[in-house]
Symmetry: C2
Subunit: 435 residues, 2 copies
Amino acid sequence: MKFIPVKGTRDFYPEAMRMRNWIADAWRAASLRNGFEEYDSPIFEYLDLFTAKSGDEIASQLFNFTDRGGRNLAIRPEITPSLARMVNAKINALPRPIKWFSIPRLCRAENPQKGRLREFFQWNVDIIGPQDELADAECVLTAVDAMRQLGLTSSDVQVHYSSRELLSEVLESLGITDQGAGEVMAVLDKRNKLPADKFDAMLSDAVGGSDAIAGILRFLDAGSIDASASPEEIAADAGINAGEKALGAIAKLQAFGGYLDAFGIADWCRYDTGIVRGLAYYTGIVYEIMDAGESLRAIAGGGRYDNLLEVLGGPGVAASGFGMGDVVLGILLEEKQLVGDLADRVDLFVVDDSPELFSEVINLVGRLRSIGLAAEFSYKRQNVGKQLKQADRRGARKAIILRNDGAFIKDMASGEQTACVLDELLSDPASVLGR
Amino acid sequence: MKFIPVKGTRDFYPEAMRMRNWIADAWRAASLRNGFEEYDSPIFEYLDLFTAKSGDEIASQLFNFTDRGGRNLAIRPEITPSLARMVNAKINALPRPIKWFSIPRLCRAENPQKGRLREFFQWNVDIIGPQDELADAECVLTAVDAMRQLGLTSSDVQVHYSSRELLSEVLESLGITDQGAGEVMAVLDKRNKLPADKFDAMLSDAVGGSDAIAGILRFLDAGSIDASASPEEIAADAGINAGEKALGAIAKLQAFGGYLDAFGIADWCRYDTGIVRGLAYYTGIVYEIMDAGESLRAIAGGGRYDNLLEVLGGPGVAASGFGMGDVVLGILLEEKQLVGDLADRVDLFVVDDSPELFSEVINLVGRLRSIGLAAEFSYKRQNVGKQLKQADRRGARKAIILRNDGAFIKDMASGEQTACVLDELLSDPASVLGR
């Protein structure tokens, strides 16, 4: 009998687990520093919850099953529907803004590829309540703050943002609405992933009119949203028919840019009309975080989704947030050689000089651990040299050597060895260990 | 449309999440202090892996499903089979002893009851390699260490241990072997959960001979394993037919007791012949951790399982470990009122005296977060008093008030307010915040 893990899932051996924890710890620390509280949902939910949000086509990406009670259930492929369900259930009891984060394990029945697995972890950061670009900007700040903690800089990654609302307005002014708009957006979303000729052909198919194509391309090529220009000037520059909603969307982009600036992260961010986001429920600012070379999949994606709580049976409450997966981020951190030495280190490794002292070894280990120190020992009764070698492999900072003539403490880095009074070590470890 | 979570699963709103994290943090800290490394496995595996270990009857407790590739998969109901699979796959590359822990999310298709849910978290601690009761004792020490960190004492909980090997020998000496032994053990495992008359009737059914019943009851009533007595004396006292394997099992219980003593946790532990453990794969020392009142389900259970790696296609390598769930432990910690104030606190809450200073507020917040401080602000432009009230609700330690005549820092506990030089705060926060 030979057992293997399922394709697209990962075994986290200790080294891989330390890497996963290192990333998750940075996500959690950035979340708390930015004023978010952690939540979590069950790993499986009623299937309906996921199809209500994203339509039946999401069902093909789900691991779904029927339990003994005949319930149609699914492993969560994303946490946003569960977030909306939880918020809706307590909407009147929760003080706003609701600033929540989570680091769920998610599963999708996809074909495993580079950067895309069937099981992964995704940091989710959401602000529910304010219909204000400040919330979009604060989510982006939180993402940048975590990436900064992991050692990435604005030369390594960029937040590409645009306005889904403005794009809708532009398409509408060109006579492209409803389902047609959805199809065109799906093509635009692939612009960075397709060869130019293929993109042109698909866009032409979806649009079906050369005037409209010219208008779309002119909008896509408009490169920036000037903070000091008026919305009317910006619209004119980009060839946008300046209706009230389009001007409003431009003003929101300007406000968003102003907040990024005030938060001190303008150099991490750039306006990019190519950002569309596949999912239908975004309603305003949208963004993706890309590596500078744009050779990897998006590291994160998010935006404003003001209708989702209502779609899932709640009141009309504004919301904005993003998801950042661990897989692409992990690839980037390794490419940039930002993963340092993550090995767990023990404070003390207790060694005996002869086997009859072994019960004293484990007695001391038990006492050291009971006062909060990480202490380790060898299961094999072997000579001091071999035990010290094991201490070294475990990354021990110091070794305690028990001998018939007393106890000694050895600094593993310097090799320096001195006599050690065990009662002192146990009553005031900092004075002996120098911390 | 109204969506609800599936029966037996939990929504972790921030308060519940903090409690879950508090427990998991104690588990993780105790694991690292005791020299264990963290690992994790996928949330789903091939169904075969779980049925190979525990038989087809486990399948009724599984959430299983077939994916689009026709694979028979299941959400993990326990992590030990995955642990054995992972260790087997790298058995020659892993230095021994393999001391690993994990805090997996597990799912079982059970009827939800007090202390038993369909989705829960379980701390798993295992030592693979040493065929030595020292490993059993070190796992117990690690469990005790975590419970100690959570505020429990030996008056609150006790580790009840016995020897599955000794029980097998006793049954065999009474002529009860193989399947009969399995049936009798299943009855004995229920002794603490059944009324006495019902237990007697079931035992009588399973054994079918009054001599054997008397022998079993005499063994069950033997209360202690004296460290200074010989195995032969102990066997005679308990009416055990002193074959070589029975004497060996008694000697192992004595060794185990000696290690508990050397580790300084003898007062947390007691010999209890009533401990059997339901699962078939235990081979030596077994234990359960119970609340002192024994009014709850077991907090943890474990023991030695020397055959499992081999059953799952690997070499014959000894192993020992336990699982501790979050549900019963959580109930006990709440009953004992050991759950303190777990609220996330922010270091600084930045307030403005008038709306035109707001962009300075968010600029300062961005800079404070970038140097690692937890800083928060109000989304609503409202007067200083209301903003300070919000700061208080968020547990802020200090507030920074930006006014047209300068910045001020207010200690939220004492109410004391002084002028604040922002450049000093940003360049040397410890000097200003007094930490």
